[in-house]
Symmetry: C2
Subunit: 670 residues, 2 copies
């Protein structure tokens, strides 16, 4: 649904959206302008100024630095759609002017290749993100156009897209290639949606179809550039690029399981689903379903994050979900949300929205600090700060959110996702309004297809989630006379769900995770749901070796975790007896005020007495000598550690790391 038509007003989410609008967007503008003391510089704006000839200097930052500015502009577009802001719009317009003035005569626009490597355009698509940056420009342009009606950036994007269209393809003299980082594919679909120009859809389809053809374009390109890498200049590489990292090891329709760099993968799946929507291509749809199932049923963490290894920020293989070395990049969960939302356009199935909700409520919001100015790139299941510092295999796991990153993909990605949150709440079908997320909001709908909208209404969603389970739809401004259907998602975590219509019990039709109620809706009608908010123990499939014998806590959509600040250090020494009651408790203090915490009477292994034999030799009768050796300080011994009771306090994962830095743990020994 159009973002403009959804107004969010929700006690849980509105503060996030205010934070994004009032703090994050202005803060990130400072970051993009290198004005945050102590943070790594972005160089993004500076690069455009150099490319536009307005400043002297060298290109700074990553080869894909342009995309950070584009993602920020995209967020601004969403934000202005919801709430106009003259000052912000003026600043954005100025940056758009700057971008436009960096565009080359032929439409090409990329500050790295303009400033740092002029003449080397399109020579290293594998590694240099040219089409990726173009994709983010297109997304920004579409969002800004929809948010403001202004076409200046859209025109820049169209010129670039048209130029790309002339360069790439199967024709004479064209490059039969595609980008090393998928992104332009989904962006071109948005450009098609915004302009109605089918050539953009076709260009997207070309990139998707071309990907994975053998012999590999990436290998040929590698040979052409002398087997070198952008990332280690001057060195001749022994091995060609690993194609699965780029999801280019097979044609996309033939890919059986998710593989390679996680963000690249889900951005590609998103585009595949988009194209399946518009082309009806059954092969693409089947591939989307297959890759979805593999991703979320075999390679996803409980917080809706993906990417089991920091090596290549990548998927590994089925059921390999280590808790202490995972990558679980915030951007990858954002991409998973994109993929889920596109699958919901293809077919209504609660699993898509379940995963969308899981990633949104847990990983994405964990990616940003409560102050809006610090970010996680990696979202671990388990943090031991000393190990993050002293074990190189865990260096990527940060115990504290960072101000800004040299490779700052995640911060502006969070911003654009949260700014566009309204897009994910509802889907309006021909005669049905679907509620995917229980986020207080309001939308105006018109049903009846070609019948000139037989029924129109404003539908208001009130929700007490995630802290309480009550939500209701209220119909108002009713016009016309047709029947229509309201469909409420029944989350997989709600084991017992009660529905009422105008306060009276009702049994809607349940189908694929949605509760459908069709009727002639009247002004003021209320369709309400009471979701099951009892705290739950969650177990992983035993094939997930890392979680064997462990339990996680969840309540509603929120996954919980233990933090050192509440439970003391050495969290792995804690355990949770299977029969212990899980109690709810009210959070207090800046960060936890208003939150529901969970408390359990748990146990702790004691390490204080780690001395097997206090005494010296112990001569027993029968000429036996017992326990002659003092095991003080020894690592291993034959008697187990003593166990003492300890109350465990679990906080929502999404809030972790906002207080005193320390350990964190999701999966607890049971």
């Amino acid at each position: 649904m159009e973002l403009q038509s959804v107004k969010i007003n929700d006690p849980y989410w509105t503060p996030y959206l205010d934070l994004v609008r009032d703090t994050v967007i202005p803060y990130q503008l400072e970051a993009l302008n290198d004005r945050i003391p102590g943070a790594e510089p972005s160089y993004a704006v500076a690069n455009f100024r150099i490319a536009a000839g307005l400043a002297e200097g060298e290109f700074g930052g990553m080869v894909f630095q342009d995309s950070d500015l584009y993602k920020w502009l995209e967020a601004v577009g969403y934000s202005l759609a919801v709430k106009p802001d003259e000052d912000l719009e003026r600043e954005a317009d100025e940056l758009i002017d700057l971008i436009a003035s960096a565009q080359q005569e032929d439409g090409y626009l990329n500050t790295y290749f303009t400033v740092a490597e002029p003449g080397a355009r399109w020579t290293n698509l594998t590694e240099c993100h040219e089409l990726y940056c173009a994709g983010h420009m297109i997304e920004a342009a579409v969002a800004y156009y929809r948010g403001t009606g202004k076409t200046r950036l859209l025109d820049v994007a169209k010129r670039m897209a048209d130029y790309i269209s002339s360069v790439f393809g199967t024709g004479e003299g064209q490059i039969r290639g595609y980008d090393g980082h998928q992104e332009i594919e989904l962006a071109l679909v948005k450009l098609y949606e915004a302009t109605g120009e089918k050539r953009y859809l076709n260009l997207s389809l070309y990139f998707i179809n071309e990907r994975g053809q053998q012999p590999s374009f990436f290998h040929k390109e590698w040979e052409r550039r002398g087997r070198t890498s952008h990332w280690s200049p001057g060195t001749v590489q022994l091995n060609p690029p690993d194609l699965s990292y780029f999801q280019a090891h097979k044609q996309v329709r033939e890919q059986e399981s998710t593989a390679g760099h996680a963000v690249r993968a889900v951005y590609m799946y998103t585009a595949m689903a988009d194209l399946a929507v518009y082309t009806g291509d059954e092969g693409l749809l089947e591939a989307c379903r297959r890759l979805w199932r593999n991703t979320v049923r075999k390679q996803m963490y409980i917080n809706g994050s993906i990417g089991s290894t920091h090596h290549g920020e990548a998927f590994t293989f089925d059921y390999d979900l280590p808790n202490d070395t995972n990558y679980s990049e915030t951007c990858a969960s954002i991409g998973l949300i994109f993929f889920a939302s596109r699958m919901l356009r293809l077919e209504m199935n609660g699993e898509y929205a379940d995963v969308l909700e899981r990633a949104l409520y847990n990983t994405v919001t964990a990616g940003i600090a409560r102050d809006g100015k610090h970010y996680f790139y990696v979202n671990p299941m388990e943090v031991w700060p000393e190990a993050s510092e002293q074990n190189p295999g865990r260096h990527h796991v940060k115990p504290v959110r960072q101000q800004w990153y040299g490779c700052a993909c995640c911060p502006p990605n969070i911003t654009r996702l949260l700014s566009s949150l309204g897009q994910y709440v509802f889907t309006a079908g021909k005669d049905t309004l679907y509620v995917h997320l229980y986020i207080g909001s309001e939308t105006r709908v018109a049903f009846g297809g070609d019948d000139q909208a037989a029924a129109k209404a404003v539908i208001k969603l009130d929700s007490s989630l995630p802290w309480q389970g009550e939500a209701k739809l209220t119909v108002s401004d009713r016009e016309g006379s047709g029947r229509f259907t309201l469909a409420l998602r029944v989350p997989s975590w709600s084991h017992t769900t009660v529905f009422t219509l105008n306060g009276k019990p009702v049994i809607p039709e349940i189908r694929d995770g949605y509760a459908y109620l069709e009727r002639e809706w009247q002004e003021g009608d209320q369709f309400a749901v009471s979701l099951d908010m009892r705290p739950q123990r969650i177990y992983a499939n035993p094939l997930v070796r890392a979680d064997a014998g462990k339990v996680a806590l969840q309540r509603g959509p929120l996954v919980y975790c233990l933090e050192e600040t509440d439970n003391g250090a050495l969290l792995p020494a804690l355990s949770l007896p299977r029969d212990a009651e899980i109690r709810e408790a009210a959070g207090t203090g800046d960060v936890l005020e208003g939150a529901v915490l969970l408390e359990v009477d748990g146990l702790r292994l004691e390490d204080g007495d780690w001395t097997e034999n206090k005494g010296e030799e112990d001569y027993e009768k029968n000429d036996r000598i017992n326990n002659v050796n003092k095991d003080e300080d020894s690592l291993y011994r034959s008697t187990p550690a003593a166990v003492k009771p300890q109350k465990l306090t679990a906080v929502p994962y999404t809030l972790w790391g906002n207080r005193k830095p320390g350990e964190m743990l999701v999966w607890i020994r049971e």
Copy 2:
């Protein structure tokens, strides 16, 4: 004790020694000559032929490839000491001639710098192992001299050592440096012991004293060579070498905890202990004790292996002992054995021998296959073959022993250790014979210090370890009349120990892990011990997070593990109830014949039924809708997996991986 004076005859160890002599030494000679089809070539002998001018060609293999040949020759020296072998000695002599003819006029000898980089001697001590190779040459020379009485290689080694002595030092024009890989320090002590030439001891002390002085020699050297690295030619590095990797971050006497590359560390500690023996340096002794305690009480795995990460094959920090990503290099456990044996020269304390035994019986022998021709470099606590293949963070963990390695440090290191096993069984003090290891053997001793050996005897040790706990010392060939003491180690794992003298109970004096019995020993006297061989559950200190809630099995000196071939796949799904009885069982089949296995009635999490709700919607009374969502195939659910009984069979860790390849697990959920 001199190796010649200890003859091993032991039902457990003799087959290992025969394997080393009859299979491993000949096999490794083939490997060093690049004659093993399918194995990675060694190039070691070929390099010497090129350096000697006997062949044309390029240097092959690692910069430290010479050391493989030296380690092999060292093993041959030990082997010939125990059992002469004319053919082997002739082959070794020929190789020694080859080595001698590769020595340069001035005494320098290193095939890499002679063949590949002439003129670049001593320009990259940090990375290029020149002194390391010299150290292994010296060790080989001393062993060969002791084994055969021949001085040809010893002369080569002395010339090289004397040349080194002229190059390194604090004098005018000398290099104030030391090697990137410690080894020459301990080797020079051996050269001193063999020759009585104090200058070699002093040179060793110089290297130890110089190490870690600031500003760092390694940093200055890095600047001098233009900030480049041997390992990535042509690239200018941003950061200087990490000094702690080389244990060069502080002077050795000031090092508080073990750090950096594990093999380098323990080789250095060995030399420090050696030097403490000969110099009486209290600062060195204290540092040795401190580093010993930190290593074995905070950073050692239960199998006596060390090195928690493959990044730099290194230690990480206290209590960080992950089971699935550890390095635990075979060579590092061999170095730990060296260190332990030197500490036993400094002070008699059972902990040194306990660790020595733990590393020997578990890691070192696990490093070599039962066929003598396949080797482990890494000794994991947990193996999941698919993860070794598909998770880059676990690529270093091999589920199957390899034929030979490009970097083949471990195979010849195992060979030289096992060939010299007799050195580790006894220590003869002034009036005491200590038994450290229960390995059937015989030695001739003379006591009485300056009194012209008031008492002489042959002491025979019979042992049924590791399968049974009976061992005894028998005195024969008694001469003289003085009293002396026999001291039997009481292993820390023997919780109840019974001693007899000539079959009658006796209570020896127990001190620091040894049982001392002093008397006027008579011909035929038998001092026997019955060690506690009951299977034990072993627990790790709760500060070892990776082992919380887990148990390992041990019996006598042997640590046990589960293998897939006995227990089925998905070993982490298995658990061992705390009260389950651990039964002994007899091993069968080629590999396990004669071994004691352990069996327990355990449990297995079932993954077969991983479907939360078989049915579709479940409409209950009271207008509630229960369990509307099928969770088939889902990763996470709120009901735990079913548990079914399963008999667990554990095999000695040292024997793992000799049957059908598959999973392995040491720490079992309890």
